[in-house]
């Protein structure tokens, strides 16, 4: 990504104890982390919780980051772990309460524009496995190459490519199914 050098500079300054740089780094990374979290959860409030957890871990762990990988790869891994913790906690909570997943509540109240956007994201990405969701977002929606996305996630390039293709296929098949006239004309 083009802002990597500037981010690395902020990381180095933060490691030297420059709090202003750390503040800038946190503010700069928040939208990205939030988007990653949102792709994982589909829930804005949960995504915010995951984001804050991930940024806290960034804050506490930045001294140990050694530039062996890209900073964004490291941060992505932190966010994924925070999302995994969230999934475990959520599952436990739902099991204890015998509750329905919160998605149902959101599905019933997509009356404002924000809820409609969430509904769209959930409809499109909700049925995909987590890996496919994150790779589809990184490659087809954010414009990274499959190799860049694979590096970011610490995956083998061909594995990443397979996930992207499966996600594309699932999403596009659904789109073509809701445009039957297009499919019909193509026969």
């Amino acid at each position: 990504m083009s802002d990597e050098p500037a981010i690395d500079e902020l990381v180095r300054a933060s490691q030297r104890g420059d709090e202003l740089a750390l503040a800038r780094l946190l503010a700069a990374m928040r939208p990205r982390v939030y988007r990653w979290a949102l792709v994982h959860t589909g829930q804005p409030d949960d995504a915010e919780d995951i984001t804050q957890q991930a940024l806290l871990k960034l804050h506490h762990g930045i001294g140990s980051f050694g530039f062996a990988a890209r900073f964004t790869t490291w941060l992505y891994a932190i966010t994924r772990r925070a999302a995994a913790d969230w999934r475990r906690t959520r599952h436990r909570r739902l099991t204890l309460l015998g509750a329905r997943p919160i998605e149902e509540k959101y599905a019933m109240q997509h009356h404002d524009s924000r809820s409609r956007l969430l509904q769209l994201v959930r409809e499109q990405l909700g049925s995909l496995p987590a890996r496919q969701r994150e790779l589809f977002d990184l490659v087809d929606l954010q414009g990274l190459s499959p190799a860049e996305a694979a590096d970011l996630l610490g995956l083998n390039h061909s594995t990443a490519r397979v996930h992207v293709l499966r996600a594309r296929r699932a999403i596009r098949a659904r789109i073509l199914a809701v445009h039957p006239h297009i499919v019909e004309e193509m026969r």
Binding site: G17, E19, L20, L22, A23, R24, L26, A27, R30, P31, R32, Y34, R35, L38, V39, P44, A47, E48, Q52, L55, H59, R114, L117, L118, L120, V121, Q124, L125, D137, D140, L141, Q142, L165, R168, R169, I171, R172, A173, I175, L176, H179, I182, V183, E185, M186, R187
Partner: protein, 144 residues
């Protein structure tokens, strides 16, 4: 030159890189899309869907890609910040030992800036983070 049938194009549409769906280059699929209105419509539907999804995520994440109302957003933030500032000011005046409290600077509405301004404590820094909720801005105090 290989010709692609509509059935083959439909299969390719499911997997193709989005760049190919714009039909601006010279692959077999792109040549077909330039001559077949039905397949071109299908490719457009896929691209439009991707764009809508990308815009939705960008808008929800509060990243600069999506256009957002600015002034109303910060006015909404400034009001609670000003209220918090007033409260912190009162608390600070009650406790003379308190010299590190950070508080938003209350400003007249006509001078509300695009970004919130807060007083950092003398011994530290603050990180100001916009959230996807226009009514919430997160401020971290990074004290040494």
């Amino acid at each position: 030159m290989n010709r692609v049938t509509c059935a083959a194009a439909r299969e390719l549409l499911l997997d193709a890189d989005p760049v190919l769906l714009r039909a601006q280059r010279d692959s077999a699929l792109e040549r077909h899309l330039r001559t077949c209105p039905s397949c071109a419509a299908a490719a457009r539907a896929v691209l439009e869907n991707d764009r809508a999804l990308a815009d939705a995520l960008a808008e929800l994440a509060g990243s600069p890609r999506a256009a957002r109302p600015r002034r109303g957003r910060w006015l909404a933030i400034a009001a609670p910040l000003a209220a918090a500032a007033a409260l912190l000011l009162v608390l600070w005046q009650r406790d003379p030992r308190q010299d590190t409290a950070f508080a938003p600077i209350p400003l007249p509405a006509e001078h509300v800036p695009d970004v919130p301004i807060v007083n950092a404590p003398a011994t530290g820094t603050v990180a100001v983070m916009r959230t996807s909720n226009p009514n919430i801005t997160i401020v971290w105090s990074l004290e040494s």
